[in-house]
Symmetry: C2
Subunit: 161 residues, 2 copies
């Protein structure tokens, strides 16, 4: 059915659109995934936002707070609130850059690295579990679709700044 026809008809509801239904499913799956991950991480005393940070520090040693915030699609102020907590727990370190005195370079402590590895195991296991043995090719196609969407949405983002 044609998009234009659909949107000009009288008796159609958003939830009758395949794209709409599909997107609702994606959103609900994300929500559930977050909640389940929160439960499974509870015994490590970290939450999904912390894990996101730790994984990125694991991957990109020496990243700045700004870069980190951009990768995570959150505000800088969010990092300013969360990172000192992780620093107090001695999971991460913040050292100021000699060249640019504005930036703080982030890295994991040995303790933080160990914790991150444990947490990543949990996350990976959850992702495997929740996929229930679905074929890898499906995953790849989903990833493609999502990355296209991300590109489109980021473009809109940048256009209004």
């Amino acid at each position: 059915m044609n998009k234009r026809q659909v949107s000009s008809e009288h008796h159609h509801f958003p939830w009758d659109h395949p794209r709409f239904r599909s997107w609702i499913a994606v959103a609900r799956a994300c929500q559930l995934m977050q909640q389940t991950l929160t439960r499974r991480l509870a015994h490590l005393d970290i939450k999904p936002p912390h894990l996101d940070i730790l994984v990125n520090l694991y991957r990109f040693e020496g990243i700045s707070q700004q870069e980190l915030a951009r990768k995570l699609l959150v505000g800088r102020s969010n990092m300013s609130m969360l990172l000192p907590q992780l620093e107090k727990r001695e999971l991460i370190e913040r050292r100021s850059d000699a060249r640019d005195k504005r930036v703080l370079r982030l890295s994991l402590t040995p303790t933080g690295r160990t914790l991150t590895e444990e947490a990543m195991e949990i996350q990976t296991a959850l992702i495997e579990d929740s996929h229930g043995g679905a074929p890898i090719e499906d995953c790849m196609k989903i990833a493609e679709s999502m990355e296209r969407m991300i590109a489109i949405l980021l473009k809109e983002d940048r256009e209004l700044s």
Copy 2:
């Protein structure tokens, strides 16, 4: 040992797993979608959580707060916080059920209905935009995958209650 070392059979880092990368993409897409939707709804003075509520009231007239919370995968207390706001703005009504004096039956006011229709247009348009003309069949496959995941995760949910 080289961090970047990856065998074709065994993935050493989470981000080398197709499922992991795919899931990260899904999560980021959701995040961006929420942020964009928040911006596009701003002039109506509602946010995505409010829209979720309104759409469900549009669809399921007379639903209770408990049922609504279950559909939205949020806590009952969340509804107790948000619904009075919408009621004060005269977008919804809450009438107590005669048969069961515990439950409050929810419905949209005419104003609320109109606002909901406007907001749903915006949401539908955003979903269409962000998909960038991807084929409907891809959407359907994604929906299937997500619904399978939702089923699996809900099962785990119920098992520990």
